[in-house]
């Protein structure tokens, strides 16, 4: 087990190095004129310098690519990602400020995915080819075909424009004022948890109202996906000999499903969960944009539209870091569940 973890940890820096290389190649394609932005910390500095050529020379943008790469990498390792026009401060500071918002959204989105997806999948698998199964399968395949931004706009149309139940945004103006002027203490920077710790249940309710539509939009796709995987893996396990034995012993269907089928059927679900967590994070780009919530996703989208290259690149590096770490954790926990993995 230890050897497996060590091998995975040794590959980690290589992958990270590769990611920076790919991202640098994309930066390099920008050409020196557009690149100056990485090195200039504020708009004032750009104005004070008269000629662009002088800046290019000053920051070594006419140097060969490998030299530029290592210089850039050195800056990144020091935490200097350049200046963000969207965040009006350093890229790293902007990202760090926005992380709690995005984590709160993505982590809460996991709850319905795991419970609804697995629950419906088990039901569909246990009732193969019955009406219920067909219904759930149709939901899964339609859900999987419905792009999140179309779904999100429809949610906004129905629940905000027509029903006026769930407003877009992060919090109502009144709650935002409390957050800004107090009395309010930031404990975790997760607004729902802070609201409980501050004993402000009106703000908690307000935050939940604003969370419903984004959570629904972010997660419904994965209900459908997890559902499909759970169902097909249920069907596969149910054909195994030990399940037939369990039935032959006269165990009730409920015990067979819960004790013998479900546990083994959930292994493939564990394998895809890493990819899913990452996709939930990437999904915040769309969801935060549609529902006008602050966060890393909307920061990325706004930066891309306004051609704020280094904000986009900083965000991409950060998303990649989340992806790599998540994959590592999932691999390790998967190896803990299934001993066959360690040996291969």
């Amino acid at each position: 087990m230890l050897a497996f973890i060590i091998r995975r940890l040794l590959i980690l820096p290589i992958i990270l190095f590769g990611v920076t290389l790919i991202i640098f190649m994309m930066i390099w394609m920008l050409g020196p004129e557009r690149l100056i932005g990485t090195y200039v910390k504020s708009p004032e500095a750009l104005k004070s310098e008269k000629s662009v050529e002088r800046l290019i020379q000053k920051y070594g943008l006419d140097r060969p690519a490998p030299e530029m790469y290592f210089k850039w990498l050195g800056n990144v390792l020091k935490g200097d990602f350049g200046y963000s026009n969207v965040g009006r401060q350093g890229v790293l500071q902007s990202i760090l400020e926005l992380i709690p918002y995005t984590f709160e959204l993505a982590l809460y989105a996991l709850i319905p995915v795991v419970f609804v997806g697995i629950w419906l999948g088990v039901i569909a698998g246990a009732h193969q080819d019955k009406l219920l199964d067909h219904g759930i399968r149709i939901f899964a395949i339609v859900g999987w075909s419905l792009p999140d931004y179309v779904f999100g706009l429809l949610v906004l149309l129905i629940f905000y424009s027509y029903l006026k139940w769930f407003p877009p945004g992060f919090l109502s103006d009144a709650s935002m004022k409390v957050l800004r002027d107090g009395p309010w203490k930031h404990y975790t920077h997760f607004v729902t948890i802070d609201a409980i710790l501050n004993w402000r249940f009106d703000i908690l309710w307000d935050a939940i109202l604003h969370l419903v539509s984004p959570l629904l939009t972010l997660s419904y796709l994965w209900w459908a996906y997890i559902l499909r995987i759970t169902r097909s893996s249920m069907l596969e396990v149910m054909r195994k000999d030990y399940v037939r034995t369990a039935r032959a012993k006269g165990l009730s269907e409920k015990v067979v499903i819960n004790k013998h089928v479900k546990r083994n059927a959930l292994i493939p679900v564990a394998t895809v969960s890493g990819g899913m967590i990452m996709q939930l994070f990437a999904g915040t780009v769309i969801v935060e944009t549609i529902f006008a919530r602050p966060g890393l996703g909307r920061f990325t989208a706004t930066s891309a539209v306004t051609l704020d290259y280094f904000s986009v690149i900083g965000a991409a590096l950060f998303f990649s870091l989340i992806l790599i770490v998540t994959n590592l954790l999932v691999d390790i926990s998967y190896a803990l569940i299934d001993p066959r993995i360690r040996l291969s």
Partner: protein
Amino acid sequence: MAMNTESRRVLRKLVKNPTAMLGIFLLIFFILVAIFAPVLAPPEPGKDPFKMLPAKTAEGKMIWSSNPIAPDRAHPFGVIGKYDVWYGVIWGTRSAFRIGLIVSIISSLIGIVVGSISAYFGGWIDEILMRITDMFMAIPFLVAAMIMTTILGKGLDKVTIALIIFGWMQVARLIRGNILQAKEEQYVLAAKALGIRDYSIIVKHLLPNTIFPVIVQISMRMGSLVITAASLSFLGVGAEIGYADWGTLLNYARNYMLQLDKSWFAVVYPGIAMVLFVLAWNLVGDALRDIFDPKMRA
């Protein structure tokens, strides 16, 4: 001959499967819409049909106000941001097919080449190619495509390039896994013993026996690629302004986000087109997977 009976078996199974038939029916429908686009939504003569022009009123006057216009006789799907939604949906079908086919075919070819070289030769070649694959997979697809289009600039051709560069890895891994399995089969060992060249072993023996899962993958990915391309347009980093593309129409609807009740048609109609398009490919892909998966054959 083996391929022939195989494809006959596939066809027979497809015809018997109702959801697959629904998928095929929807696909044929979209192909017809794409072919007959000039009839369904006649473009201005002599102009690029993919560049949408401001819509005209029933009397033939240009519309200059950018307020959304609800569906009426002249504009069955309404008007958003001066553009006719019906026109955008119809010509958007062509854009969807074009981007989906180009990206999935080219990226799959890259994946097939990388995956089969990696699996067949193994050793350090495999190690290097697979680590490169890991590196490309370590950047989330949508975010990677966003940086690429931010850097390359707007336009559907740039979106195509971005999606190809970050879209070949799954196929590479899939084909590598399949070939690794097939490599140990007796017919491959026999071919090697006969002294047949590596290239022709890969192309003549290994690929035909491992390609079917890739076909399933391509058909499943067609839908998701079109969604991703449209999501770039939706976010504003995809197709140029006024390009006939489903995502672009949704992007206009986004400008009226908080009064969607006045612009619902710009979400609903392109949305339905996208859902059905993706659904069609998913249904066909699902059916193909059931057919090709040996575990399901029993």
